[in-house]
């Protein structure tokens, strides 16, 4: 469920980048303060591990399809939320750059959905509440499962909110939510069980594993970051969701002196209906009207223009190739 650049608006993309950027700064500061040098190779190798582990599939019982782990909760349990968050951030960045899985502008959204929510919401508020010092294996298993399920549900909710606020996909909020949450509940339960099984396996094999996740005074700070980040996001979102045009739109509308109706929906619909008015009489009507420029078939002009653009780009590429080879 990696968000692509094609599905987000610049305002959503940039505000999420800003929020996650702040959390990244804070996390790296925390890691530098509270851990020794061995943390650097540990996080690096574990990041590569999650990457590799995501490529091994398992068969989902009863369905015959296959799944893989997400890794956010697993990392948070193993090495603590700060390190886990930075590691997930790096993994998502590499996926965006090397595999084009998730966009570059959408990186903020993806880090928030798959890194921030599991590491700083699901882990401290669910896992840490269920699992205490010296908890039984069953409790750890339950905690890991529920935390994974909740993490994925929150992530899916994040995807829905970011998509709806971006207004690129016109899926209505409620329908999209009904589409996303049940699917990710099913995936989440399986993923949660698998994560919990891996955690118990590791606890059996390496009982000293908790040493890696040791992080003093974590909870209060996480809460503070969460509040700040949530306020930030809420503020940004409500600002963008309001009828104000965002920065870029505003500057462009200033340049082109094109008046726009303030409500976004109205704007799109009115321009579309304009388009309809202009073009619905095509082809008999438009070509007869020689003098009125406004009635030239927009669609004809557009089609011709796009074809010419294609030809031009093809020509330029041919010339470039000749120039380079010759």
């Amino acid at each position: 469920m990696h968000m692509a650049d094609a599905l987000i608006s610049p305002s959503v993309g940039c505000s999420m980048l800003a929020v996650t950027g702040a959390v990244i700064l804070y996390s790296s500061k925390k890691i530098k303060e509270e851990f020794d040098d061995s943390r650097i190779p540990l996080m690096g190798v574990l990041g590569a591990f999650v990457f590799a582990a995501q490529m091994i599939n398992f068969t989902i019982p009863l369905t015959g399809s296959s799944g893989h782990i997400g890794g956010g909760i697993l990392l948070a349990i193993l090495i603590g939320p700060y390190s886990a968050f930075l590691t997930i951030t790096s993994i998502l960045t590499i996926q965006a750059l090397l595999f084009a899985d998730g966009g570059i502008l959408a990186l903020g959204c993806n880090i928030f959905n798959l890194g921030f929510l599991p590491c700083f919401v699901s882990y401290p508020f669910v896992y840490k509440n269920i699992v205490k010092e010296g908890s039984s294996k069953t409790k750890i298993f339950t905690g890991a499962t529920i935390a994974s399920v909740l993490g994925l549900q929150l992530g899916a909710l994040g995807v829905v909110l970011e998509t709806v606020f971006s207004e690129i996909s016109i899926l209505p909020f409620d329908k999209f939510l009904i589409l996303m949450l049940p699917i990710h509940l099913a995936i989440g339960i399986v993923e949660g069980l698998v994560t919990a099984t891996i955690v118990t396996f590791i606890l059996n094999a390496k009982p000293d594993i908790n040493a890696y996740s040791y992080a003093p005074s974590v909870k209060k700070n996480i809460f503070a970051i969460f509040i700040v980040a949530a306020l930030f996001t809420a503020g940004f979102f409500s600002w963008f969701a309001s009828s104000l045009p965002d920065g870029l739109e505003w500057s462009i509308s200033n340049v082109t002196v094109k008046e726009e109706i303030s409500s976004k929906e109205e704007k799109i619909y009115s321009s579309l209906s304009n388009l309809q008015e202009k073009t619905s009489f095509f082809p008999d009507y438009n070509f007869k009207n020689d003098k009125e420029q406004g009635n030239i078939g927009t669609s004809v002009a557009g089609l011709i223009g796009v074809s010419i653009t294609f030809i031009t780009i093809a020509l330029i590429s041919l010339i470039l190739k000749k120039l380079k080879d010759g």
């Binding site: 990041g47 590569a48 590799a52 998509t163 799109i268 321009s271 030239i296 330029i316």
Partner: protein
């Protein structure tokens, strides 16, 4: 299993592409990162009902692919592989919005169809530009450029570390996965229990490896600081690259060039 080895091959391949010598490869990586960002923001800022105005933007990827000697087919394949999510969400638009807004000949085109094409175009352009950035710069160079662009060093070091050990661990994972597959019949043994212990062992090995790496680093004088070397030079060529492309993007964003050209042609034809 095929997936694992092909992923490994893919990363290796994009790395090979980035080690060429061309005009584009020679441009400062920081500049390429920034130009890509400008390109992405410009594309993403388009409204959902615009199609024709997006076409001129293909000049940027085409220009880079040709000058940097990159194989077209590779990018086509990559785009198809990563498309499912965006296409899945976009394809619902034609079903939700069925108001006819445009006629081409006698065929009516709905608003939803237009926004679907718009999403497809955005998707192709944004994915292309991201892939081209890596294929012309190389992952390590991008990391160093990010550090110079004030991305926290901790994150940059993580990126470099993960990238370094990606190859090692993916290879290990692929061997384990192959071993499991050779021992399973009719899908038995591919379930959660075997999977969990498989991943658990991979994790144990990774933890041990991290410890060994740390000791190796210490014995080579690691003092907590990782230094990155770079030969990035912000020269005239790079400066021009950034300025010219930014101007081109801005012009293509403000003026719908195909529409304007089309109008002219229509007027001339009449």
């Amino acid at each position: 299993m095929a997936k694992i080895s092909s992923a490994l091959f893919d990363i290796g391949y994009i790395d090979t592409l980035s080690r060429q010598n061309s005009l584009i490869h020679g441009i400062d990586t920081r500049v390429k990162v920034l130009t890509t960002l400008v390109f992405l923001i410009t594309i993403v800022s388009f409204k959902t009902h615009e199609i024709s105005s997006l076409f001129p933007f293909f000049i940027y990827p085409v220009f880079l692919i040709i000058l940097a000697d990159l194989p077209f087919s590779y990018f086509v394949r990559k785009i198809i592989i990563v498309s499912p999510f965006a296409v899945l969400i976009g394809i619902l638009n034609p079903f939700i919005d069925q108001t006819i807004v445009l006629y081409i000949g006698k065929i009516g085109i709905s608003g939803g169809l237009i926004s679907f094409f718009n999403i497809l175009l955005r998707f192709i352009l944004t994915v292309l530009s991201a892939l081209i950035l890596v294929a012309t710069s190389g992952f390590n160079n991008i990391c160093i450029a990010l550090e110079k662009l004030y991305v926290p060093k901790m994150l940059v070091i993580q990126l470099l570390f993960i990238y370094r050990y990606l190859f090692v661990l993916i290879k290990e994972a692929s061997q384990m996965s192959k071993g499991r597959k050779l021992r399973t019949f009719n899908g038995k043994g591919m379930g959660i229990k075997v999977y969990a212990s498989l991943i658990g062992h991979l994790l144990l090995r990774a933890l041990n490896r991290a410890q060994r790496i740390h000791m190796a680093m210490l014995s080579r004088g690691f003092d907590g600081e990782i230094r990155t070397a770079s030969n990035m030079k912000f020269d005239k060529k790079s400066f021009l690259f950034f300025i010219l492309w930014s101007i081109v993007f801005l012009i293509m964003r403000i003026y719908n060039l195909p529409q304007i050209v089309g109008y002219f042609v229509v007027i001339i034809l009449k």
